[in-house]
Symmetry: C2
Subunit: 345 residues, 2 copies
DNA sequence: TTAAACTACGAAAACGATTAAGTGAACAAA
DNA sequence: TTTGTTCACTTAATCGTTTTCGTAGTTTAA
């Protein structure tokens, strides 16, 4: 490997001079600088990041926590979309992205230990089974600049998809189509996302003067088509079934959708359904799904931008709450219905 | 940050002794070793990977090339599945995973430069727009241990999904259901995957004594629903349309599926379709797709395992071709048809 | 008793960069 | 001429490890 030392010898200068020439700062003559840079290029010099990090304590590396139940997190379109946005943004700003190791078979390293070990300049927490766990909390409380997605911690800047507005938009659209009996299969309790959406669901219902019977709200984990199928069955079996069901996400919706079509009901003729996320597939299905598209790339990019900002100018760094708006995709899975339909019971 | 020096002072030994105690090698007394390890734990010592890498030239870090047309590669279920497998495997073996930077706005670093800069012990090439580009070739030819997925280079161990067997299985199953007029919308030429599948398609057709008119083979890029929709239209408009269409992948299939249903045709009543990949959604649709499930996690894991093997025992390292079998999911999108149907023209 | 061998540790160089402080030359001001 | 100031560069310390070699002290062999 070609080092500064070699360049220094070749140019008959000291290593310090080479450093100054390449980093473009410090006192150095114009012509020497050019001569050095030229030779560096000729020799194919690449700086040694380990040496630099050792000296400067600055790794230009961001750690990303991407914990995943069942080990399949990377294949979730929402999270992988966010990760992709994050990656694009930080690469643009000349940082690299390394996964925070989530395997502790033999080692006893915590997330924070791992972050220190790798000398991450900053940390992005994208997805995580249990934010309240000791390990994650230790990480969030640490003094390493950290940004979280869809989770709020006092110490960290958070980028949040506007689930409140999203749910509100969705509800109001459904209402505008004439629906008055709206059910909601929400994702697992304990998640911030669920909490926000559920609160928005109830609040909007109140605003619209809708009565939401207790049995209209079921729980099914995100992405779990079986659970959403079960919940759908329960809803359809009610004495007064809803005219529209909102699902935790587009994938979970499919589970319910299958139950509905198996029963010979049509969408949106006999019942309307709405999803969340706006995954690619949602706009390819027939009928196109009514859903909220989340701008995953934007979420990831904002997270990256803020994180690097707080790394590079710590004094001006604020703990911010950045909210990214979703977009209502009306699709065709929520149909127009007449008032009578709502009162058929 | 607590360093070896601090531990050394606290224990009244030299730094060298601490190093030996913690690395568990070298000559050292049993009791001193324990004393040192104890203090290290108490102080919360974490090794400094930069210093270690600088000295040993071993970063315990794997670079992954994940290049992505349109910047959305991470959301492709196949690739993200492979990446996930890779991540799981190498973390198990105490390596970390860092993305090879694909942004060159201001910098002029090539992939290889970036790999050298980060001192990657090994490289995994998971997905890549153009394997033949100078940059990628430079990387593959370099002396850094490298493993490729679904691409073969003389220097590198390759992990390959068995596209040949997969296509053969698919064809034979379709044939067994009575189909004799089988069309294939293949992915973009230039990809190894396409080449293999296309060759297998023709070879199996020959074996089955099937006649494949030239117009039965169309091209549409992977994941591109519009292009597959166009190709489907062309096929349906033929004087002698096929009774079954094989798509580049499950996602592209949806494009074709929509065209078919828009024309009022039923699947598999009026026409049969088959996909590839076996994405989650494929088994949730009605009818379930006939497709080949690729074992993405296994592919990723194998890639990781072989890569680390060739890093840690370079002498025994072979350039291997590891083939991972897919699995036929029969689904219901390919229907049984009678001989007459095949000869209706 | 003496030499050889072994044990347990320390001293010091090295990895490749950064950076504060120092130095000699050139030049300007007094 | 002397003094002070810039300029352009060098010296040398430093970051936290690893690793080779050296060396006391102890044990064993002759």
């Amino acid at each position: 490997m070609v080092s500064m030392k070699m360049i220094a010898e070749r140019c008959n200068v000291s290593v310090a001079t080479v450093s100054k020439a390449l980093s473009n700062r410090g006192d150095i003559g114009e012509d020497t600088k050019n001569r050095i840079r030229q030779t560096a290029k000729e020799l194919g010099y690449v700086p040694n990041v380990a040496a630099r990090a050792l000296k400067t304590n600055h790794s230009y590396n961001i750690g990303v926590l991407f914990e995943e139940q069942a080990g399949s997190g990377l294949t979730h379109e929402y999270f992988s979309g966010v990760l992709n946005g994050l990656k694009l943004q930080i690469e643009q700003q000349h940082y690299d992205l390394t996964f925070i190791n989530t395997s502790f078979e033999n080692s006893e390293m915590t997330y924070l230990d791992h972050a220190r070990y790798r000398n991450f300049d900053g940390i992005a927490v994208i997805c995580c089974d249990d934010y309240e766990s000791a390990q994650v909390q230790e990480l969030l409380k640490s003094d390493i600049p950290t940004v979280t997605v869809d989770y709020v911690h006092q110490n960290c800047t958070a980028v949040l998809s506007n689930n409140i507005k999203g749910m509100e938009d969705l509800m109001k659209y459904i209402y505008s189509q004439g629906h008055r009996r709206i059910a909601y299969i929400c994702g697992q309790a304990g998640s911030y996302v669920t909490k926000d959406r559920l609160a928005a669901f109830y609040r909007t219902a109140e605003e619209l003067k809708l009565d939401i019977p207790e049995e209209y709200v079921k729980e099914a984990r995100y992405m779990e088509t079986r659970e959403s199928a079960e919940a759908t069955k329960a809803l359809l079996d009610l004495k007064n079934p809803p005219t529209c069901i909102i699902y935790p996400d587009d994938m979970a919706l499919i589970g319910g959708r299958n139950v509905i079509t198996e029963r010979g009901m049509t969408i949106p003729g006999d019942i309307s359904i709405a999803g969340y996320d706006g995954i690619r597939m949602s706009q390819l299905l027939h009928p196109k799904l009514t859903t909220i598209r989340q701008d995953t790339e934007r979420i990831g990019r904002e997270a990256g931008r803020r994180l690097i900002q707080s790394i590079e100018t710590p004094k001006t760094a604020l703990v911010e709450r950045v909210v990214i708006e979703g977009e209502l995709l009306t699709g065709q899975s929520v149909g127009k219905i007449t008032p009578e339909t709502n009162n058929q019971f």
